[in-house]
């Protein structure tokens, strides 16, 4: 497929690097200030050269960022940073592609978490399709597993959907260290960002759960346009800042531990630290993510893997592209 990639952060760059080996041509690529678009010769963009320019001069090319959206592509890969509320500019990038009947693959959670109804409406009017495997659990095949079983036959999803929060909790439990200490260590290791709010307050996990809730809601509705829409405001969210070391000690006595669990069940979305058995498939360590999909006929399915990272998230984008081609 011919790809246009919006967003040249770690995910956008990884998609550009992996795409040629997977049989795709990158015909346009841009960030918020610069872009590179293939010329009329039919040759794709020289990805290596564009990424070197980005690394050295901070620009991917000399074209205007808007030119990416009007380039001659089959699928737009939207990998700009997640924004809340109106989910812009990501949302407009998606609609621009759909209006031209092109496919869209999202790595940006904003449009699917905050404007799912608008997105569905735009997709319904288009010959293009929207896919967003990368938005939930990075490399883990969560959405495709739900899709394959049929969202109507999935009763609930529960999981560890934020690697940073999981790293902090699992290290606190294993080493008997307090929250502040482990968070500082995580920041030194690059596991947590300088401003870790999005991760430790549960917002990131909640966005993923909201996306799952939207998918299950549409699956359960007779008419998708009647499906209840979820946004971040519908989620009950509690982070890990208040998890005391003494609570982890007590949990350990009973073969339990504490994990930040996102739960989508019975029309509600909740993220909170929860007690789970230490041998539960959800009691993953470090930055690993895990999700349990409760199906009507196949019992509980568990997937686990890397929930973040450039290549990992790009792999999920490539999974979506495979399903489109």
């Amino acid at each position: 497929m011919r790809l246009a990639i919006v967003g040249a952060g770690v995910v956008g760059r990884s998609v550009a690097e992996l795409a040629p080996d997977r049989g795709h041509d990158v015909v346009a690529m841009g960030d918020s200030t610069s872009a590179v678009v293939a010329d009329d010769s039919g040759e794709p963009v020289d990805v290596d050269a564009a990424l070197s320019r980005k690394a050295e001069r901070g620009i991917v090319g000399d074209a205007d960022p808007d030119d990416v959206l009007s380039a001659d592509y089959d699928a737009l890969v939207e990998a700009t940073p997640t924004t809340l509320g109106d989910a812009e500019p990501g949302f407009s990038h998606v609609t621009a592609a759909l209006e031209r009947d092109r496919h869209v693959v999202l790595a940006n959670k904003g449009p699917v978490a905050e404007r799912f109804g608008d997105l569905q409406a735009a997709a319904a009017d288009s010959a293009g399709e929207v896919r967003f495997e990368a938005t939930v659990g990075g490399a883990m095949p969560v959405l495709s597993t739900i899709e394959d079983h049929g969202a109507a036959h999935v009763d609930a999803v529960r999981g560890v959907l934020n690697g940073t929060a999981n790293f902090v909790l699992s290290r606190m439990a294993a080493e008997g260290l307090d929250y502040e200490h482990v968070l500082a260590e995580a920041q030194d290791l690059g596991v947590a960002e300088a401003d870790p709010t999005f991760d430790v307050d549960g917002t990131d996990a909640a966005l993923k759960c909201v996306i799952l809730a939207n998918v299950l809601s549409v699956g359960a509705a007779d008419d998708p346009t009647d499906a209840r829409e979820f946004t971040l405001d519908d989620a009950e969210v509690e982070g890990i800042r208040n998890v005391a070391g003494s609570a982890l000690d007590l949990a350990g006595e009973d073969g339990l531990t504490v994990r930040l669990i996102g739960e989508v069940a019975d029309g509600s979305v909740r993220v909170a630290p929860r007690l789970v058995k230490r041998n539960s498939p959800l009691a993953v360590s470090g930055t690993t993510n895990a999700a349990q999909i409760e199906t009507a006929s196949a019992g509980t399915l568990t997937v686990s893997g890397r929930g973040a990272g450039g290549k990992e998230t790009a792999s999920a984008v490539l999974m979506d592209l495979n399903r489109l081609s």
Partner: protein, 176 residues
Amino acid sequence: MNGDEDAVNAYMIRLELVDEPGELLRALQPISEKGGNLLSIFHERGNITPRGHIPVEVDIEATASQYEAIVEVLKEEGINVIQAGAERYSESVVCILSGHIVDTDLSDTLSRIQETSNATVTDLSLSAPEGTRNTSSAKLRLAVEEGEVSETVESVRAIADEKDLHLIESLTGGDA
């Protein structure tokens, strides 16, 4: 019950023991012999019944048939079983409270949990590594009647909110 004979439930047995050495041990032996799991013993040493016996409350986990066998053996052994089976708890819930556990009156917290729900606190552990004036945590195991887990957890949550305590609930669904 749901007819699942292997299902393990929590039961409370109220006994009155003669105040003699070895009586408590004699009363507890049948529990393990019949495959039950002893959750807690509440032994009111100072509180003597009008007949001069010591009341003891024992919480156990067992299957329905194990439980019946335990009560039968206790009676055969001549141990005074005051109440058994009347309160039949079918589910056990663990949760952890953190914060100023002791300053916010732990015994009041526990009694209010039992008053506002049909649950019984069967086990309590406290961890206060920095002393009871600082943040400490308490782990509660509650025996809850069937189908009342979420109601009980709601009650605990309301009490925790009011006392500014942080509640960590168990994940109940799936294979958690």
